[in-house]
């Protein structure tokens, strides 16, 4: 069953569309990277999927059920600000969270809190490091035994060690329970190594949606003389040009013409190419 799908979803704040005409269906059991620059609409999309924000247009579905007012029981959402009560101890926080959820696994929470160095449960939340706070927040999210885990910038503010440990906890969840995970980041490098699927958004719209290896295999980077691009076949995504040389990112391209070099892009260049193209589209008409 499709864990999360969107059809023509839009969200308008006053005169500004934070998300527009987003349509996608995410694959089950995968780790999905929701990537885009700051302000691209990532958080709004996740908050709509979690039922915390109502779309202005279109509809989201979680495991086939339309999202309406409230978080689906099979979904856990971790907001970017990791909402925890600072004046409580970890133990008290766990008790509060248990009381707010119908389905709750105290064992699972303890398991996650015990991972890595282990969390001191008598410590006040506000005294914890950013990494440990994240671990507590994820433990609470996993206590709901979700089938779909939505994480908004889970790695922001973490030092490299905490980042690695956080990813380890999330990946262990995928290994143990086959949970579908959607993780957002404005830094592709954070997610590149651990994701199967890419959902790239910019300017509120989906720019790329697909299995990462399949997406890469459909694209080529051609480098050749800027004076003669006529023989190049395929859909041009974006291009950078010097006086003599053109570097083209192409989708479904034909064979490289003579005098052109041809390579499969890495994920960074592909994402940069699409973001450059979306910038060019949005900045042109507004000026």
């Amino acid at each position: 069953m499709i864990p999360l799908s969107a059809s023509a979803v839009g969200k308008q704040y006053r005169s500004r569309w934070a998300v527009r005409d987003c349509t996608f269906a995410l694959p089950e059991g995968k780790v999905i990277a929701l990537v885009g620059p700051n302000g691209a609409g990532k958080s709004t999309l996740l908050r709509m999927a979690a039922g915390l924000v109502r779309p202005t247009a279109g509809e989201l579905r979680v495991f086939g059920t339309p999202v309406r007012g409230g978080t689906h029981p099979d979904v856990s959402f971790l907001a970017q600000d990791r909402p925890l009560y600072g004046h409580l101890t970890v133990r008290e926080m766990v008790r509060v969270a248990a009381g707010m959820n119908d389905r709750w696994s105290a064992e699972r929470v303890q398991e996650v809190l015990g991972l890595q160095a282990g969390v001191d449960q008598d410590a006040k939340i506000r005294t914890l490091s950013a990494g440990t706070r994240t671990q507590v927040a994820i433990a609470l999210a996993l206590g709901r035994l979700p089938r779909l885990l939505l994480l908004d910038e889970p790695l922001a503010d973490l030092d490299p060690l905490a980042r690695d440990e956080t990813l380890r906890i999330i990946m262990a969840e995928v290994a143990d329970r086959g949970t579908t995970v959607v993780m957002s980041s404005h830094l592709l490098a954070d997610l590149r190594e651990v994701c199967d699927h890419l959902l790239l958004v910019d300017d509120g719209r989906v720019q790329v949606d697909g299995d990462i290896e399949e997406v890469l295999a459909r694209h080529r980077i051609l480098v050749g003389p800027a004076a003669d691009e006529s023989a190049v076949e395929g859909t041009l995504v974006s291009a950078t040009r010097t006086q003599r040389q053109a570097t083209l990112l192409l989708k479904d391209s034909g064979p490289a013409p003579q005098g052109w070099s041809d390579a499969e892009p890495d994920l960074e260049s592909l994402v940069m190419g699409y973001l450059r193209a979306s910038r060019a589209r949005t900045s042109a008409p507004r000026r």
């Binding site: 990946m171 262990a172 995928v174 190594e193 651990v194 199967d196």
Partner: protein
Amino acid sequence: MLIDVIEFRIDRHSGVSTYMQIVHQVEQAMRLGLLAPGDRLPSAREVVDATAVNPNTVLKAYRELEREGLVEGRRGLGTFVTKSLASEATAGDDAPLRKELARWMKLAREGGLVVEDVDALYSAVREEHYPVEERS
């Protein structure tokens, strides 16, 4: 049954996908005789605990190895090596070619070569004998 027969080392900056690194490391361990028929590959969970990679990537690498006929997944038990890639020429510390290479390496070191010199010499000679276009 040995659990810790092989541990994957994932280099995140190599430019080679995690999935290919796992496939290559299993194949290499098989060639060197470190993995033999009947050995169990680490479970996805064990790899996650050691390296924080995506378990789906581990399973995908194992499926590729299965497609190559090197390993077999047994439901509920794990993934097992079914074939031997080791030969007398490559397996074991006393394989003749290995001993000869070790002798050469010792000479290089005694001759004051640094590791970059050794790598450069090795790749240059390898290129002569195994040109890129002949490799599959």
